[in-house]
């Protein structure tokens, strides 16, 4: 594994470049196919409302996949991610229009660990709500 960021160049509080990830209904259909998760709450508005949701929502795992891109783009080598965990706090609601929803991800170094590893704390927001909680990755730096 060859991260392009060295342990010595980061401090607690170092911010990673943030990312903005748009998600439309088409994105969700595509993700359903690629991931094998065909739960209709992610593509069928009628079904989503029947089970008490405001509208179609994004797969939690889609949001989790987008959030870690901020870390993998920063580290250079996605294999540098040695741990990654999230809590799904709020759904990302995806309306049936051209723009859909936006997932906005920011991240900073939360702790410097042993063995040239760091803990990165992530924040993922959509429509002003925090959609991931306790979102953390441990990254092996060079």
């Amino acid at each position: 594994m060859t991260a392009k960021i060295t342990y010595d160049e980061v401090e607690v509080g170092t911010e990673l470049p943030a990312g903005s990830f748009p998600v439309t209904r088409a994105t969700l259909v595509r993700y359903a196919g690629a991931s094998g998760d065909f739960n209709p709450i992610h593509w069928n508005e009628r079904f989503a409302r029947e089970v008490g949701l405001p509208d179609v929502i994004a797969h939690g795992m889609f949001t989790m996949a987008e959030a870690i891109r901020v870390v993998t783009d920063w580290a250079g080598d996605p294999g540098a991610v040695v741990e990654y965990g999230v809590r799904f706090t709020k759904p990302v609601v995806v309306p049936d229009d051209e723009t859909g929803a936006l997932i906005e991800v920011s991240a900073k170094v939360g702790a410097k660990l042993d063995d040239r590893r760091v803990r990165v704390d992530l924040t993922a927001m959509s429509a002003g709500q925090k959609v991931l909680g306790m979102s953390r990755a441990v990254v092996q730096l060079a």
Binding site: T2, G33, A34, S35, F62, T72, V82, E83, V86
Partner: protein, 150 residues
Amino acid sequence: MALDQSFVGRTYPPTVPYEVGREKIREFAEAVGDDNPAYTDPAAATALGHPEVIAPPTFVFAITFAAAGQVVEDPQLGLDYSRVVHGDQRFAYSRPVRAGDRLRVTSTIEAIKSLAGNDILDIRGEVHDEAGEHVVTAWTKLVARAAEGA
């Protein structure tokens, strides 16, 4: 109805191997809009020290969640899957998943809790390659919301 606590610690048999294909990784990376060349270009993966293209960090969930189906659909456990939402997800990697891997998942019920009528189920999936080496562990927390009027 609260789930049977005696299921805590139960381990299910390893799944039949899932063979990770280059094109499946490409399809997944495109679906999440991630153009990192380590996912699609063997030369780029090699330059980073990987023997093959690697998969994005959350790719393996499709495999571990399918394996967790043994638990979720265990009629003896009696989870109402129509009421299940995904609570937490965590991964710890020994190495990235890569094309050509033949992965087996061993699922264990780590915890069962009942909170305000909700059933909370923690499942651990240990993922090993064909050589028996550990690749990744996935922890999945599922919450079965209380039925109305229950």
